[in-house]
């Protein structure tokens, strides 16, 4: 009974402010007429039409999900591989450091025109652009994580003659896990931004495309519905991410909790 009461109070305290704000938004937008801020009720209607209706939703969402999925997967895998390589082979990292710094300093968005010129305007280009931009946080964090492995662990695994491959996957990557996940989380945010940006040119579907088209066709409520959809999409992806992180890093979570208790 106590646990139930505790859960309800946690839920209540985290919900009251968002709910209040939504209600205020609803009421204000209903009665104050503004061209660019339609009533929330109208937005919700448009949202249901465009994003909850299965056919429309599919047409609007699938292209974006494609870009997100493939781009992010490439970025994470590429980032981990490259980051681990650089982290393990010190001289190599040192040698390529200025080039890496320069490449990562380019804001991914600035490369859109460049990628259009090089790769055209289809999904391929978008996936590559997302992959390029999202690789950096993963790469850099993996690099840091691999370098920061507790030296005692390395000594221990060498002393016990643990094979190289085992050592890499079992000890080093696992140990760098939390750091890698931190990078992957940033990469997710970058993925979303670049995905939207890439759909503003030459696309024929997707959330970003819908957003920009709605604006240029002055369908304001639809534009807002796309904004809401993007917000929800971002939030859902984050939740999935967190669940994966919870599962894969459960050892870390428990260790941290233990440390906090005994300090």
């Amino acid at each position: 009974m106590n646990a139930l009461r505790r859960t309800t109070s946690i839920v209540a305290i985290e919900l009251w402010l968002p709910l209040t704000l939504v209600i205020i938004w609803w009421v204000v937008s209903e009665y104050v007429n503004s061209l660019y801020f339609p009533p929330l009720s109208v937005i919700m209607q448009s949202f249901a039409e465009n994003w909850l209706n299965p056919e429309n939703a599919a047409a609007n969402l699938v292209p974006s999900l494609q870009v997100i999925f493939f781009g992010y997967a490439l970025a994470v895998i590429g980032g981990i591989v490259l980051g681990a390589t650089l982290g393990l082979v010190r001289p190599l990292e040192r040698a390529v450091r200025p080039v890496v710094e320069a490449m990562r300093a380019v804001p991914g968005v600035a490369l859109l025109p460049l990628f259009i010129v090089l790769f055209g305007i289809d999904q391929q280009m978008r996936i590559l652009l997302v992959a390029y931009g999202a690789t950096w946080p993963v790469l850099l964090n993996t690099l840091d994580g691999v370098r920061g492995v507790e030296p005692t662990l390395l000594d221990m695994s060498r002393a016990f003659r643990v094979g190289r491959a085992r050592r890499l996957f079992g000890v080093i990557l696992k140990s760098a896990g939390p750091q890698i996940f931190a990078g992957a989380r940033i990469a997710l945010a970058v993925t979303l931004i670049i995905m939207v940006v890439s759909e503003t040119v030459g696309a024929s579907g997707g959330v970003g495309y819908f957003l920009m088209t709605a604006k240029s066709e002055f369908r304001i409520a639809s534009m807002w519905s796309a904004m809401v959809a993007l917000g929800i999409l971002g939030y859902l992806l984050n939740i999935i991410f967190r669940i994966a992180e919870r599962y894969i890093l459960r050892w870390h979570r428990l260790q941290q909790a233990r440390l906090e208790r005994t300090s």
Binding site: I10, I13, E14, L15, W16, L17, P18, L21, Y36, R94, A95, V96, R97, P98, V99, E101, A102, M103, R104, A105, V106, P107, G108, V109, A110, L111, L112, P113, L114, I116, V117, L118, I186, A189, L192, I193, M195, V196, V197, T200, G208, L211, M212, A214, K215, I220, M223, W224, A226, M227, L230, G231, G234, Y235, L237, N238
Partner: protein
């Protein structure tokens, strides 16, 4: 071990050390040149004009740097970015620290912030374009809208990380609250706040350029988009290099600032050994 061999050992090590100081930068320059070489080779493989060779791009960059419009574009981008970052800090840090010091408000805003921070800021671009038009104010607001979140959220987190023992020490010496806040609370929160500011800096620059590029507001981002529209690829690549330069300058500047402000922090103290 004889004296002679000790001396030779020491001088060998010194030579190695000195050599290391010269060799590595040389190697790095070598790699940069190698990258340039790969670029040059690759330029042959793409359809005409898609990837101009590095020499052409650099020459163009040199020309551009002699024009007034180049510097105006850079100034606008840098100015918008800086202003956006400052505003984000002025909003995010005090608000975040204040929320973080109250359990009630931390809990109340947790879900709300969690949701709001996952909205890709770029989603606001169309709305802002409609309301504010294609000018630097629009870019400024867009940039703030994105950069404020990591700063705000890290500041909330920072407020909760304070060393409890220092609060007790302050209480035992009857130190008034204002003094505690200024001399203990704020400095203690700085390391965490800086993490947020670093992320905010990256996002602010990214959004500034994105806003200019997509929203046709003046600045480096716009120059890139315009060059691409006219298929003036050397000019486009030149401006992309400029954006990379801006990114490097901003990163470097931030690290210097962090090293100064946090010179007492263990993580910065140890970095000297890197």
């Amino acid at each position: 071990m004889t004296n002679a061999s000790v001396v030779t050992q020491r001088s060998v090590r010194m030579v190695q050390f000195r050599a290391g100081r010269i060799v590595w930068p040389l190697i790095q320059v070598g790699v940069v040149l190698l990258a340039g070489g790969i670029w040059w080779l690759a330029s042959g493989f793409f359809p005409a004009g898609a990837l101009p060779p590095p020499g052409v791009v650099l020459a163009r960059l040199g020309e551009l740097m002699l024009t007034g419009e180049f510097w105006i574009a850079v100034a606008i981008t840098v100015g918008t970015f800086a202003l956006a970052l400052i505003c984000s800090i002025l909003i995010g840090v005090p608000l975040g620290l204040w929320i973080g010091s109250s359990r009630f408000w931390t809990e109340s805003t947790r879900l709300l912030f969690d949701f709001l921070r996952t909205i890709p800021p770029i989603a606001l671009l169309p709305l802002l374009l409609l309301v504010l038009g294609a000018d630097f104010q629009m870019v400024l607001v867009l940039s703030i809208a994105g950069a404020v979140w990591p700063i705000l959220i890290q500041s909330v987190y920072a407020a909760r990380q304070g060393e409890a023992l220092l609060a007790e020490m302050a209480a035992s010496f009857r130190i008034p609250k204002a003094w505690y806040i200024r001399h203990i609370f704020v400095p203690g929160a700085m390391p965490f706040v800086m993490t947020g500011v670093r992320l905010g800096t990256t996002i602010a620059l990214l959004l500034t350029i994105a806003g200019e590029l997509l929203g046709a507001a003046p600045g480096v981002g716009h120059e890139i988009a315009a060059a691409q529209a006219w298929y003036d690829t050397p000019r486009m690549y030149a401006y992309v290099l400029v954006s990379a330069g801006l990114g490097l300058a901003v990163n470097g500047g931030f690290w210097s600032l962090q090293r100064y402000l946090l010179r007492w922090h263990p993580s910065v103290r140890e970095e000297g050994r890197r």
